[in-house]
């Protein structure tokens, strides 16, 4: 069932391409068009069914390992457990929405193939319990993303795609080095995360110019840097900051709503399972980096004018917050970070959807009242207004949103380490409030440049509803995530201690 939910999108992608090439009449091609959306929904339904199985059957994990490349101890191991449950639920929500968002575009057929391939890649990375498989699925995603940016960007597509690809390749190569080191530095050489969790590391050092470097620490640092480069986490966030303005609107939804949470999940899973000792050793510096990243991102977002740049730095800030939560290495901080992965994904998806609605209508910059000649109360769609307001609340971590739950837990966790960090976090929230309020003020009170009010199409209105509902529902009832994730997390955290 897990394999079906992972591979069904890519199988349908291949089928869609072949059928679209075969049918010449418009009627038949219009039948092929919604196949991508249907495949994505069916895959998501399988994931929901897995949830129901897990919650009702009392089964701790679903899935298992099958040898794939026994020559090199690589197993085909996809599992559904407490650690990845909320993440796959997030992906199950985001991808159908991405299809719905672009459903009426003329070039939807080509785009849907890319979305389906990305869905396979990210779901595979989320379900995998084997390092090789995780890396295979995670790095597979870079090619469809490259083509999405190169072909479908409004301007400078090939150049932006190239810089994105370079960014990703550098990140992937570092993760690759980390994986190779991890396998060979383990007393039981294997790629299985479970086996690596249980086995000891061989302490070996590399001598260079009189200095000695622990290879295990090197693997750990490669992993962190590699993943952070790929998902643009402080201080490696500048890879896409320059080009984010020209990316296709839907890529913003995918990057913040899917790539960022999956990247953070992989980071969390591997550092807690395999590099526990190294993570504990470097937790203070990482905590400091996380807090600095949070402050820096908040500050930059408060001075940027471009909507996407504001959003980019908002998520740089949130990523720093998640990192600091993880680095606390206490129950509250780690749980807050795990919930934060879901909250960052939902907030990212919502931001992407709002941005998509505005970018398609030529709204790219947040202007102040002085720049507008005739300030009028904007008559926007109620759905868009609600989306903007919920986004603002989510950015602030207002009560009633899932962000409040994650932020509070992280703040409690950080407070245990040092109250000064919490002060820095609180100060940053003021900056975030400034950014959020600028956006809200501009959109709700100062209008847009076009004379016509913003009118959302049905599909654009539809995508707001599930995301807003999830943010609010999980904010009101977070127990659902906590119950699923807590047992596994506590096992990992107690092993660290």
């Amino acid at each position: 069932m897990i394999s079906v939910s992972v591979f069904l999108p890519s199988i349908v992608a291949a089928l869609t391409t072949v059928l679209a090439a075969t049918f010449s009449s418009r009627g038949l091609r219009s039948l092929v068009k919604p196949m991508g959306l249907l495949a994505s929904i069916v895959s998501s339904c399988f994931i929901v069914w897995l949830f129901l199985l897990k919650s009702s059957g009392g089964v701790s994990d679903l899935g298992g390992a099958v040898p794939w490349l026994p020559f090199f101890s690589v197993n085909y191991d996809l599992s559904f457990n407490g650690l990845n449950a909320s993440l796959v639920a997030l992906l199950a929500l985001v991808f159908p929405l991405v299809h719905i968002l672009d459903l009426y575009r003329e070039d939807y057929l080509g785009r849907s193939v890319i979305y389906l391939l990305l869905q396979t890649g990210l779901l595979g990375a989320a379900f995998s319990q084997d390092l090789f498989l995780i890396f295979l699925f995670w790095s597979f995603c870079i090619l469809p993303a490259y083509y999405l940016i190169s072909v479908y960007s409004k301007e400078n597509g090939p150049e932006n795609g190239f810089s994105y690809l370079i960014n990703g390749l550098v990140g992937n190569s570092l993760v690759f080095m980390s994986i190779i080191l991890t396998r060979f530095l383990s007393e039981t050489p294997s790629f299985s995360v479970q086996v690596l969790f249980e086995s000891e590391k061989i302490s070996r050092a590399l001598s260079l110019g009189g200095l000695s470097f622990s290879l295990v620490s090197a693997a750990f640092i490669f992993l962190i840097v590699g993943i952070f480069i790929r998902i643009s986490v402080f201080p490696f966030h500048s890879g896409i900051s320059r080009s984010v303005r020209s990316y296709p609107s839907v890529f913003i939804v995918l990057h913040y709503g899917a790539f960022l949470p999956v990247g953070f999940y992989i980071f969390t899973k591997l550092v807690l399972s395999i590099f526990g000792n190294q993570f504990a050793y470097y937790s203070r510096p990482l905590l400091a980096i996380g807090v600095v990243g949070f402050v820096y991102g908040a500050f930059r977002s408060s001075v940027e004018k471009d909507l996407r740049s504001i959003g980019h730095y908002l998520f740089v800030s949130f990523s720093g917050l998640l990192l600091s939560g993880l680095a606390c290495l206490n129950e509250q901080g780690v749980l807050g970070a795990m919930i934060g992965i879901t909250s960052i994904g939902l907030t990212g998806a919502l931001f992407g959807i709002v941005n998509s609605a505005l970018a398609d209508r030529g709204v790219f910059e947040v202007k102040s009242a002085k720049e507008k000649e005739n300030a009028t109360v904007i008559s926007t769609s109620i759905v868009l207004t609600a989306g903007v307001v919920v986004l603002f609340c989510a950015v602030l971590g207002a009560p009633g949103t899932i962000n409040f739950v994650s932020t509070s837990l992280i703040a409690f966790g950080v407070f245990e380490i040092s109250p000064w960090y919490v002060l820095a976090v609180l100060f940053s929230f003021l900056l975030l409030a400034t950014s959020g309020f600028r956006i809200v003020k501009f959109l709700l009170f100062y209008g847009v440049d076009s004379e016509e009010p913003i009118f959302l199409k049905a599909n654009e209105r539809l995508v707001f509803v599930p995301v807003i509902s999830c943010i609010v529902f999980l904010g009101v009832s977070p127990n659902w995530i906590v119950t699923v994730a807590r047992p596994v997390l506590m096992t990992l955290v107690s092993a660290l201690k």
């Binding site: 090439a21 010449s24 890396f135 870079i142 090939p158 190239f162 390749l169 190569s173 080095m177």
Partner: protein, 484 residues
């Protein structure tokens, strides 16, 4: 009786068939020619599989038919068959689909088949010379510009060098053993009586001789020269079929007697905790890959780009000889098999990018076709070793075995160089996409193009799913050669 059913005999029959049809065939002789040759090649593959299941190993007159030879013969026949199929699908221009092209195709295939079976130095040198003639003469015969004639002539003259090298090697073996056979473990003692300098000298001879066919250091110019002039078909053979064959020769030559002997020879301690022979191979590998990776940056022609990429690719695979374990060599055999599939698909896509030109050129005013360009870009990344294609699995296993052999610095170098290569490819592709023409006049034409491109991308992806089986086959093929 068995001799009658060898694939080489079938190909000889094929050449006679071509000449017969050319002389006596009527108006439809082109159809009979191409279809007939395709059927013969298929028969040869089928017959090889039956033979391998029943009667090998066979040894006669300096030729060995074992699992290892069968493995390479299947790859070579498959490459040849694919080129004939592409001719049938009219992917090449009329000038390229001639009788002489078919004869050259079969001749080269025949020689390559024999080369992977040969276990004698006299046979080796003779076949290498014939292979060079079969690869170069068609280029010279159909030259359009003087520089193409000059390039072909240079290739012919340069091909004398590897012949001299292998003749020298044969003389060394003759002086040691009294015959020119590769032999096996039986004569390790005689080889071990040589000092380290002699042993290294032999290794240098072997690798330098091979470098003229796989475009490695010091003969880095070979693929570049091959890209000047000549038909796309002959260019593809120089870029893939010949290097694959030479790798087969190298593994048999070195794996059968050279490396087992090294264990017995003292005084081979080199730098960075490795043996001298490992240092030598790593130097050649790094020089090849570094130059190829740097030259990729400045390429503006797809032909030259592919030449540099294949130089890097085969240079990378040389590292298996430095690690020299079952895993590393099996990974290379696996990689040669699956990358042959990727190469054929890539080549087909390239033929469709600029049908009326010999190559896509960034500084040309001719706009490449967008859809095949996208396919070619995916396959270029596949050949460069990006996931999820089987080339990535090859490089992953190879890096793992290199790491196990305690060559950590080499692993870091190879990963960095691979990122560099992928970045250079992306740069070229990005520039090509920006000048590509994605418009197709008719809906029917557009659909046909998309359909063909789907067919081209599918096989490498499917090969990833069957990686385990192919890897087992490769491992079995190598295990037959002895290594203990």
């Amino acid at each position: 009786m068995t001799i009658l059913f060898l694939p080489e005999v079938i190909l000889i029959f094929g050449i006679c068939y071509i000449l017969f049809i050319e002389i006596f065939g009527g108006k439809r002789r082109e159809h009979f020619l191409i279809t007939g040759v395709a059927v013969l090649l298929l028969t040869a593959i089928f017959e090889l599989l039956i033979l391998s299941a029943t009667q090998i190993p066979l040894v006669f007159n300096g030729f060995t038919l074992d699992s290892f030879a069968v493995f390479f013969k299947i790859i070579i026949l498959f490459l040849s068959l694919a080129s004939v199929v592409l001719m049938r699908l009219r992917l090449f221009s009329v000038e390229e689909c001639t009788v002489e092209a078919l004869v050259a195709n079969l001749s080269l295939t025949l020689v390559c088949l024999a080369l992977v079976s040969v276990s004698d130095f006299v046979g080796l040198v003779s076949l290498l010379l014939i292979m060079t003639l079969a690869a170069t003469l068609p280029r010279i015969a159909r030259f359009r510009k003087l520089r193409e004639l000059e390039a072909g002539g240079r290739s012919l003259m340069v091909s004398v060098l590897p012949a001299i090298i292998f003749v020298s090697l044969g003389l060394v073996v003759l002086s040691l053993r009294g015959n020119t056979g590769y032999g096996g473990l039986a004569w390790i003692e005689e080889f071990s009586s040589l000092g380290p300098a002699h042993v290294l000298g032999i290794l240098v001879l072997v690798l330098c001789g091979a470098s003229f066919f796989i475009s490695s250091f010091p003969a880095l110019f070979v693929f570049r020269e091959a890209s000047i002039g000549g038909s796309r078909l002959s260019w593809s053979f120089s870029l893939y079929m010949i290097p694959v064959t030479i790798f087969g020769v190298l593994v048999r030559l070195l794996g059968d007697w050279f490396f087992p002997s090294l264990v017995e020879i003292g005084g081979m301690v080199g730098f960075f905790g490795l043996s001298l022979w490992q240092n030598l191979i790593l130097f050649l590998m790094m020089a090849t890959t570094a130059v190829a990776a740097l030259s990729l940056l400045k390429e503006t022609s797809l032909r030259s780009l592919l030449g540099s990429l294949m130089t890097y690719h085969f240079g990378y695979l040389l590292v298996c000889f430095a690690a020299m374990s079952e895993k590393s060599v099996s990974a290379v055999l696996f990689g040669l098999a699956v990358d042959s599939l990727t190469f054929i698909m890539l080549f087909s896509a390239i033929c469709r990018i600029c049908p009326n030109e010999t190559s896509l050129h960034l500084e040309s005013s001719v706009r490449p076709k967008g859809i095949p360009l996208l396919t070619a870009s995916v396959l270029l990344f596949a050949l460069a070793g990006l996931p999820p294609f089987p080339g990535f699995i090859t490089k992953f296993i190879l890096l793992g075995s290199v790491f196990e052999a305690e060559m950590h610095g080499v692993v870091v170098y190879l990963i960095i160089s691979q990122v560099f290569v992928a970045a250079s490819l992306a740069r070229f592709i990005s520039r090509s996409i920006s000048m590509a023409d994605f418009e197709i006049e008719t809906n029917r034409g557009r659909q046909k193009e998309i359909f063909i491109q789907c067919i081209l991308v599918a096989p490498p992806v499917i090969a990833t799913l069957f990686s385990s089986s192919i890897l087992n086959f490769a491992s079995h093929a190598y295990r037959f050669l002895l290594w203990s």
